[in-house]
């Protein structure tokens, strides 16, 4: 076998392997986690963990891709994820078209930080069809242990606290701008490992220090 043929064979193995072991059941389990997360913003839900996506695509983002993406959903990849292996893996498992413009995507995959364009770069839907907005999947370092943010809105009884590590700068202001667009606006899924936390467009995010005293965090 020539060197080129060998690398082509290993490339195709990388693309073909590492999907859900039981696609029907695991996609259902992953969806219920996403549905619970979206219905209760700020709560941390568990994605099933039998995937082996090619680096650098994080396992949590891969699980969501396999659950929600298919030929009907244009996907945008941040440049750090845009490798031949990841493209090939998504093409084999989801067959989703990849787009260059963030605003054309139904789902966008990005790590938090400089790699991620401002939230305004994504599609926020139209006033008539606000459901046609981008859902942004943002990989963060951790969903606990960071500076606390207060969350309020539908799905939250009184107030939730989110303490994610590695959120982009100006995050609170961006979410406030997004909230002001309602019913338009982007929905956000924060992913760390196999934990996912949703911030739909309805959630009002405030810095915990700006408001009440710190005893609220103990709730």
């Amino acid at each position: 076998m020539t060197h080129a043929a060998q690398s082509a064979a290993s490339m195709s193995a990388v693309c073909v392997e590492g999907g859900f072991a039981d696609p029907v059941i695991e996609a259902q389990v992953a969806f219920r986690a996403l549905m619970d997360a979206m219905a209760r913003p700020g709560s941390l839900c568990d994605l099933p963990g039998s995937l082996a996506p090619p680096a650098p695509l994080p396992e949590g983002l891969a699980a969501i891709a396999l659950t929600l993406c298919d030929p009907d959903t244009p996907v945008w990849l941040a440049s750090v994820y845009d490798t031949p292996e990841v493209r090939g893996w998504l093409a084999f498992h989801c067959a989703c078209p990849l787009v260059v413009e963030p605003a054309q995507s139904a789902f966008a995959f990005a790590p938090a930080g400089a790699e991620c364009p401002p939230l305004t770069a994504f599609n926020s839907g139209t006033q008539e069809y606000p459901d046609r907005s981008t859902t942004l999947l943002l990989a963060v370092e951790a969903l606990t242990g960071g500076a606390p943010l207060h969350l309020e809105g539908p799905g939250i009884r009184s107030r939730e606290t989110l303490a994610a590590v590695g959120l982009p700068e100006g995050f609170v202001a961006e979410r406030a701008e997004n909230r002001a667009l309602f019913p338009r606006g982007g929905d956000l899924l924060l992913v760390a490992g196999l934990k996912v936390c949703a911030l739909p467009r309805t959630t009002r995010v405030t810095a915990a220090s700006a408001g009440m005293s710190t005893d609220e965090g103990a709730e």
């Binding site: 549905m35 219905a39 659950t67 139904a106 459901d131």
Partner: protein, 305 residues
């Protein structure tokens, strides 16, 4: 049993888990997530033909099929009852295609599909309520054009709905709408709660459970997340009120529940009984007796004769 029926009963290989194919489920799941993110907004979806006619809950069945898993326990009610045709056949459908556990007990269910009632027992955070919806657009009978109603929702222009309720007052002296009573969700979208009696509207407000709505023929999915404000439209001088019943349930003596009228004879005889059969059975099991609940004694006497 014919060969075809045997294939369906014995050969699960013929169908995917929960009947729908995976691409259809993904499409419906995406619509559900967007519906939750925009409470009360009707998300268009590519509704499929189901093995039952429109009007029999094809929307609710598609939503349930897309969310249900092996660990779920399903309850299906039709007008509050677990034992009517629609409820029995949908329950049997999911037993066959998804092999899920089923129950009639509200508190044991994780997914409850309903036609036109909300159970009397308060729902919990671990439950999902799936409504079957015939006409999802609350403005449809006021404005038949989809392009116009869509614009009205976009502009939050709901004056027409208030005029309709006002005309009720002008004509009848009170708001005469008793079911499918319009609600305002999270202070933004006017929504049709499906033809539930307005008695159930207050249960939607700040409900702990997630509420999903599926309209199969009209191809719309919408949702109310838990802990969301749901306000029934009204006027300051004509506040929203639910139905009141003068007598308790004839079988379990429950008050403050929704009652069905049952005609007993052709001489005007009638009784009022709980529409929620599970609630009524549980109360009777706990020893509550209404004034017509003497059937056991009557049956024993009859058998002795």
């Amino acid at each position: 049993m014919t060969g075809q029926a045997q294939d369906i009963a014995g050969g699960m290989a013929a169908y995917n888990f929960a009947y729908l194919d995976e691409q259809t489920k993904r499409m419906i799941r995406r619509a559900i997530l967007k519906g939750i993110a925009i409470p009360g907004y009707q998300v268009p979806f590519a509704s499929r033909e189901m093995p039952m006619p429109y009007g029999w809950g094809t929307g609710g069945v598609q939503v349930t099929a897309s969310i249900i898993g092996r660990d779920d326990t399903l309850k299906v009610i039709d007008q509050g009852a677990d034992d009517t045709t629609n409820a029995v056949s949908i329950r049997a459908f999911f037993q066959k295609v998804a092999d899920v556990a089923v129950t009639t007990r509200t508190r044991e269910a994780s997914v409850i599909q309903t036609r036109h009632r909300i159970p009397e027992e308060p729902l919990t955070a671990s439950q999902v309520l799936v409504y079957q919806v015939p006409i999802p657009e609350p403005l449809r009978f006021l404005e038949p054009r989809e392009t116009e109603t869509r614009k009205m929702h976009a502009l939050e222009e709901y004056g027409l709905m208030h005029v309709k309720l006002y005309e009720d007052i002008a004509r009848h002296g009170h708001i005469a709408t008793t079911y499918a009573y319009p609600v305002l969700v999270d202070d933004r979208y006017v929504m049709d709660p499906s033809p539930t009696p307005k008695f159930d509207n207050p249960k939607m407000d700040m409900c702990e459970a997630l509420q999903l709505f599926g309209a199969g023929r009209e191809k719309r999915i919408y949702a109310i997340p838990p802990y969301t404000r749901v306000v029934s439209l009204d006027f300051e001088d004509h506040p929203f009120e639910v139905q009141r019943f003068e007598e308790p349930c004839a079988l379990c003596a429950a008050r403050d529940v929704y009652l069905d009228e049952v005609i007993l004879d052709d001489k005007g005889g009638r009784m009022f009984v709980c529409s929620d059969t599970d609630h009524c059975e549980e109360r009777r099991a706990a020893g509550h007796r209404g004034h017509l609940a003497a059937e056991e004694a009557y049956a024993t006497t009859e058998a002795a004769q």
